[in-house]
Amino acid sequence: MRCKGSYAARIPLLSRGGESRGVASAGVELVKQKQFLNQHDDGVTRHPSAAEERSLAFSSGNRLLLFILLFLSFPYTASPQTRESSSVVAAIDELNRGNIFEAIHKLKLTLQQNAAPQAYLYLSGIYTRMGRYDTAYRYLSTAMDDNPVQAAHYEQLGLIRRYEGCRVEAMAAFRQALSLATNREEATLWRHIGEVHVDLLEWDKAIDAFRNTLRLRPNDAMARLALGRIYVDRNDPQTALNELRAALEISPAVAGLHAVLGRAYRAAGNSEAAIDILTKGIEKDSSDQESRYLLGQTLLAAGSTREGRQILRDYQQMQERIEQTNTLFEAAVERARAGDLAEAEKALREALGHAPRYAPALQILGTVLLNRGNVQQAVETFRQSLAVNPLNSETYLNMGAAYLRLGNLNAGFEMTEKALVIEDQDARHYAQLGDIYSRVGRPDQSRAALEKAASLKSAPAYRPPDPYGSEGRRRDNAATVREICGGPPSP
């Protein structure tokens, strides 16, 4: 069983202090690069108040826009206990600008300088949205060691558990958060609770929870969308339309809203309105396949056969590209693992022909090229991969290795450091760093790094890394379609 408990008493047992506090342990310290030290102490007057807002920031269509929207919607007035240090504020400023890597770096530098519970919490939120739940949990548990009674901590715990699929544990955490929450925090927590009730197929309880959110925060578009979705699924299109129209007015950018509105209009027998809203949905977000499918079906049912078929053909072509891209990518990973690098490269190039911004394919292609000896091409491919997804430590590590092969120690060092910013518990990163220090004649630092690498390798849970495994997970179609359509990638 994977689900872990969600109660405070269990958390400190898992990771208390020590090396989990950051990358400064074992004598290995990040280089404070100029751009990372350029903190902005003066610009931030509003901060997200809840873990969910933090997390959402870079998962949606437009990171910056969403962050700004969230900030405007939920102005933060920190209590004296939770007011962030200036360096944390600077990190949040980077988040606000969509610079996730820089935000992580600043937060970790903050942790090297002092214990900042809020930095741990923000890091936990960021890693949650990166799908790195173990790391997210590690930061959260450290934050809770310092201050175990904050609602925000339990809210973050609930989010981690929910994304892990552990709904019951998530519910317990959100309930715990609710017992500690201020009025302002309550609204978001009730929405989370409602979402978990939906997961648990408890729709009546979900409705109550979403209503509680709206009682506290009538302009919560996501709660209205969630309610609208339930009412559509309960064959109550009129009530659904009331909620969904309100959501549209509050926040037209909420993902999925147009499609559900289209369903509601269709269920209410208003095909014309359904066609209109679904068309707008596709115009707003060309990767909205749900709206595209619904539009095609609605047009066909309305007798607009030619238009409906054309829309569905577009839908189908997109789906086929997704399938082909995913299949080629998976085949390439398999070939690479089997040592057939030529075939792997061929499949990856084909996959990238379908989706040029497919970051996982770019990352694996770079690795394949590197291992085939095409180092310069590998560097260029890694650069393209990082332009799409700057949060993959594997890419930095391999790009660093490529630079080392080219004899460019400075660039290799810089990339290895960046890998460590994202992932500070990977033995390979320290091993590469130790190698670089050794080459530049810094034996003490080299030894420290290599000792850290050995220490990580000796951990009971250590498994030898698969060089092609970091992107081996099955990708969801939504992620691929965004990369085909040119939208922002999933972190």
């Binding site: 069983m1 709904r167 019951v168 648990l200 197929l201 699924d233 595209r292 049912a301």
Partner: protein
């Protein structure tokens, strides 16, 4: 009582007159009792271990109602799986065959010569060689098997000579005469490429989790296998015509299969329910080829354009508009899907509108049938449920491993009302149901339900009281068309309403229903008109039958 009636160029045999009691209460339903053990159907299903470490262990088996010895009583065939260990030694008996004497069932598997072993999955029945005796095909993990009915209570495994020995992991199958040449062809759905050597067991792969629990891996991420269409050569052999016929299955994980005429053009189309991937609808182009129209028809995905986990599939005209609708069972946490056929090969996802949405969410559906279980003239809906992951027990997520069945009464206004909870205690018993078959095994005028329970004994739910309403049942026999008359459509007019149904092989969840066509008539005691459209396209009109009879209709002779 047996009576022979000669009509307008056809032979009509009314061999049984039956009416029991008066027209029933408002719903027509009384109750269902599980009598499997009492009447001798007791075979223990073997299908993997209790923990379900691999996907091969989880999908269970199908069953068939068919009258193998032509004595007028429906016999029962139940397919059996195996375990990974036993399969290495050849597996377990593929089937158990039970002969009915009208009251009790006797296990005649060995006497019938059905000794083939392996890892069986599903079954479909048809008289493929038109000799008057129904044969059957068993899908399997490993070599599939075609059993020829010798006509003396025995069967012969003719898989090799018939050239239908697909060795991939097959699941659903159906016979149908897609080219209308007078013999039935065969469609076999294939699932995925399974090997214990290449697929990690439960708990050994971080990606194989459900709601936080370690579960078996797949099907997502595993390599699917394409389906296959065999054309009957008319000489006891078949030819793989998959590609030539335009059956292009992009290696989807196939389960339930149907041959039915969805566009009312007289040519059978093919519908395939696929697990975790879009369902396929192959429209018959009337020239020996098909065109896949699932997406364009609206029958491939959910209303939101999402591929669901298609398991079982059934078809029937639930709203009485003259077109066959499709119902597909899906995974827990998702709805099953009712595709309403609005004509012109267009379907509308009417799941929610029909009242089939929220209530089904905790259940993982497999066997299913649109059948008039209370004989009120409207097709009701049965769903057999059971989760694939034993690990859901104790998660407190609103889902259980063993699950109750669902029974929905058709209200006649496009909506269904779930009634199992209220009046059918035996259907509420928690089981790991998989395949199911519907048929009137006791010939009392109402439809009964057989269900295969994974790693358990089967259930036979006898319908007690459906026959309080009037009914009529037709057994069709082709002469110029295929002998089983698979694909024949019967349309009746009674009480001012028209109803349609088709003779079908396979469907449900990898199972086979009674091939007799059964209509409920409500309080109407007479059928005014009967129209039969035979599989070869010819039609015959029959007039005037009293209700509550089993009628044999033989196609106008050669």
């Amino acid at each position: 009582m047996r009576r022979v009636v000669h009509g307008l160029g056809f032979t009509l045999i009314v061999f049984l007159l039956w009416k029991q009691g008066s027209v029933g209460a408002e719903t027509g339903f009384s109750t269902f009792h599980d009598i499997a053990r009492d009447i001798g159907i007791t075979v223990m299903n073997i299908h993997g271990g209790a923990d379900k470490d691999y996907i091969i262990e989880a999908n269970g088996n199908g069953a068939a109602f068919f009258d193998y010895n032509n004595d007028g009583n429906l016999d029962v065939l139940i397919v059996n799986g195996s375990t990974l260990d036993r399969y290495k030694d050849g597996g377990d008996p593929l089937v158990a065959l039970y002969r009915s004497d009208g009251e009790q069932f006797t296990d005649v598997t060995a006497n019938a010569g059905l000794r083939t072993k392996g890892w069986g999955m599903g079954v479909c029945v048809a008289d493929y060689d038109n000799d008057g005796n129904p044969d059957f095909y068993i899908t399997a993990f490993g070599r599939d098997a075609l059993f020829h009915n010798n006509g003396a209570g025995t069967f012969t495994d003719v898989t090799a000579t018939a050239r239908v020995s697909d060795t991939r992991w097959s699941t659903g199958c159906a016979f149908g005469d897609y080219d209308r040449d007078g013999d039935v062809d065969l469609y076999v759905a294939n699932y995925l490429a399974f090997s214990e050597n290449t697929i990690r067991p439960r708990g050994r792969n971080n990606l194989c989790r459900y709601m936080g629990a370690d579960v078996f891996c797949g099907p997502i991420g595993l390599t699917g296998e394409p389906d296959i269409l065999y054309r009957n050569n008319g000489n006891g052999t078949f030819t793989d015509v998959t590609s030539a016929a335009g059956i292009r299955d992009p290696n989807y994980y196939g389960f339930g299969v149907l041959f039915n005429d969805f566009d009312n053009d007289g040519w059978p189309d093919i519908y395939v329910a696929n697990d975790s991937q879009p369902n396929l609808l192959f429209q018959n182009k009337r020239n020996g080829t098909f065109e896949e129209v699932g997406l364009l028809s609206g029958s491939a995905l959910s209303e939101s354009g999402r591929a669901q986990s298609g398991m079982g599939v059934t078809a029937g005209d639930y709203d009485g508009n003259g077109y066959l609708d499709i119902f597909v069972t899906n995974f827990a946490g998702d709805t099953n899907t009712l595709y309403r056929n609005v004509g012109n090969m267009l379907f509308v996802d009417s799941t929610v509108a029909a009242g089939l949405g929220e209530i089904a969410l905790p259940h993982l559906g497999w066997g299913t049938s649109l059948s008039d279980l209370n004989n009120d003239g409207w097709l009701d809906l049965f769903v057999a449920n059971g989760h694939v992951y034993p690990q859901v027990e104790g998660l407190n997520i609103g889902q259980r491993y063993l699950q109750r069945k669902e029974l929905y009464r058709n209200l006649g206004n496009g909506k269904f009302l779930e009634i199992a909870r209220d009046v059918f205690p035996d259907l509420l018993g928690a089981k790991g149901a998989r395949g199911s078959a519907v048929g009137d095994f006791d010939n009392d005028g109402d439809l009964d339900i057989l269900a295969v329970n994974i790693n358990d004994r089967p259930s036979l739910y006898r319908n007690e009281g459906g026959n309080r309403n009037h009914w009529i049942s037709f057994r069709l026999e082709g002469t110029r068309s295929n002998r089983s008359a698979i694909g024949a459509r019967v349309e009746i007019e009674a009480g001012g309403r028209k109803q349609i149904s088709e003779v079908r092989s396979g469907g449900n969840y990898i199972s086979h229903d009674d091939m007799r066509i059964h209509f409920g008539l409500g309080e109407t005691a007479r059928v005014d008109r009967v129209r039969v459209r035979w599989p070869n396209g010819s039609t015959e009109e029959l007039s005037g039958f009293d209700a509550d009879r089993f009628i044999v209709v033989r196609e106008k002779g050669k």
